[in-house]
């Protein structure tokens, strides 16, 4: 019999895996994996800033929603900064990603030390946002993850023709009357949503793997997009469950890392299967 707490973590991680699997397909095909990594790292100063504001007003430092909203704002700001830098044409996008990722993260680390110097437990659990700690997941967090998964799956299925056209040939899609800016923004919004939702459980360092691994594995096993999308959701969900089980069975193993390692095992297996 699985303890209630483990079950919550298990379902939460499965839902997160499904959501990331769905969105990750299009993130990969649009070449947005590095940008997702930058958004995850850029979220840290937002999380810390939200904790500081919360401490000022004396709110519960363990309440997740304000922290995640702070993270989402900072992540979106990071995304905007990358695109604004690249749009100047003076540095390439990969360099812009490097600059933004590192500087936002460094700002977050400095902020973290400021918060930790404060009394009253304002820092409670903030450092978990870096490497993740799914074990502290509460029932309502698992519910939220489940809703998120459903939303991401419904959104990717509903927007499937648009996202596919955008990822394969954006100019042709534009000529056909697809609004590229809006469609691209919707995709980036979903990527940001998954990155931020994955922060508490998986951590900002590993959250990009949640998007990339199931999708990359599914691509190796599928030659058409609908199959890839379904496989990616399944692999993401199963990775979440197995990772949570493994970490529950080993005292002190971080769940996020276990989920990512399971995902990596699937990826390597798919590589070997598809070598022939």
């Amino acid at each position: 019999m699985i303890a209630h707490n483990t079950l919550v973590v298990l379902l939460g991680c499965a839902a997160l895996g499904v959501a990331a699997g769905a969105v990750g397909c299009f993130a990969l095909l649009r070449g947005r994996a590095l940008l997702a990594d930058a958004m995850g790292h850029a979220a840290l100063p937002g999380v810390v800033g939200a904790a500081l504001i919360g401490a000022w007003f004396g709110t519960d430092p363990r309440a997740l929603p304000p922290l995640l909203i702070g993270g989402a704002i900072a992540g979106a700001l990071g995304l905007w900064a990358v695109q604004a830098l690249a749009a100047t044409g003076r540095i390439r996008q990969d360099a812009a990603i490097g600059v933004v990722l590192a500087s936002f993260y460094a700002l977050g680390v400095v902020g973290l030390s400021v918060v930790q110097a404060m009394p009253a437990g304002a820092q409670a659990g903030l450092s978990h946002f870096i490497l993740g700690q799914a074990a502290t997941m509460r029932t309502e967090d698992a519910w939220a993850a489940g809703l998120l998964a459903m939303f991401c799956v419904v959104a990717t299925v509903a927007l499937f023709p648009r996202f596919r056209a955008l990822c394969f040939d954006a100019e042709f899609a534009a000529l056909q009357g697809l609004n590229i800016r809006v469609t691209d923004a919707a995709l980036m919004g979903l990527i940001l949503l998954v990155c931020i939702a994955g922060l508490p459980a998986v951590g900002l360092v590993l959250v990009v793997a949640l998007l990339v691994l199931p999708a990359a594995t599914a691509r190796l096993l599928n030659q058409r997009l609908p199959g890839m999308l379904a496989a990616s959701c399944a692999i993401g969900g199963v990775s979440g469950v197995l990772g949570a089980l493994i970490s529950a069975g080993h005292e002190g193993w971080p769940t996020g890392a276990a989920v990512v390692l399971v995902g990596t095992a699937f990826f390597v297996a798919a590589l070997l299967v598809r070598r022939a």
Binding site: E171, F172, L175, R224
Partner: protein, 241 residues
């Protein structure tokens, strides 16, 4: 109504002008856009299709692009997309039919059949279900042509439809282009192989950042005009061929 009319078009890449004061009316029939590398041939197509910002006026069938969108087809350069994309040949061609579903839901059977018919027109029906990454360059070009046909447009703008294809594919594509013109469509293609211009095309637009000459091939595709368009060295090299 003329299918494509361009007046005083300017395009800049940053500070650098790519096209200067282009005024041109596309004639009926099969037209080649020719000029050296960097002459702005692809840029002209993209500007006409509203894919890059430009100054000046572009009219399609006497109206704006938004009004005429359904009547305009485009074949981009083959290298402009990732051929490792998870899709079959039929999937790619079927994407031309997506706007008819208003971008929602699965493609109805009749739209998929229309896409299959377009593949058949370019001799690719047997490979409809093959992943695009497993197709040869010539086959990929035929898939792109089929996608362009599946748009069922009256004006087709093609960016190097004959670039880097085998002889059989080249003959096949030329046959399709001529069939389109015979069916009353207007086709304009960026073209690189000067030697084949007189055999394939009726009209030519000679471009080098500006319009050097435009008219029937017999009128404008002359040695003197080629020298003006390309500079003396390439014209000599072509003559020596």
């Amino acid at each position: 109504m003329t299918p494509l009319s361009i007046r005083h078009l300017n395009v800049f890449y940053g500070e650098r002008p790519a096209l200067v004061d282009i005024s041109w009316e596309l004639p009926r029939g099969l037209t080649a856009i020719i000029g050296p590398n960097g002459a702005g041939k692809s840029t002209l197509l993209k500007a006409a299709l509203g894919l890059i910002p430009c100054e000046g006026e572009v009219r399609l069938f006497g109206t704006s692009l938004d009004e005429a969108r359904a009547r305009v087809g485009y074949l981009p350069q083959r290298a402009s997309v990732d051929w490792d994309f998870p899709a079959s040949a039929l999937d790619v061609v079927a994407m031309a039919r997506t706007p008819r579903t208003r971008w929602w839901g699965a493609l109805p059977r009749r739209e998929r059949e229309a896409a299959r018919a377009a593949l058949d027109e370019v001799g690719m029906a047997a490979l409809a279900d093959r992943p695009i990454g497993q197709l040869s360059g010539g086959q990929q070009q035929r898939v792109f042509l089929a996608r362009c046909l599946a748009q069922e447009a009256d004006l087709l703008l093609m960016d190097e439809p004959l670039a880097a294809v085998d002889a059989a594919t080249e003959r096949e594509i030329i046959r399709v282009l001529q069939a389109l013109v015979a069916a009353g469509k207007s086709v304009v293609a960026v073209h690189h192989d000067l030697a084949s211009v007189p055999h394939v095309f009726e009209h030519a637009l000679m471009l080098n950042g500006r319009v050097v000459a435009a008219g029937t091939v017999a009128e404008v595709f002359t040695p003197a005009m080629i020298v003006t368009t390309y500079g003396p060295s390439l014209a000599e090299a072509e003559a020596a061929d």
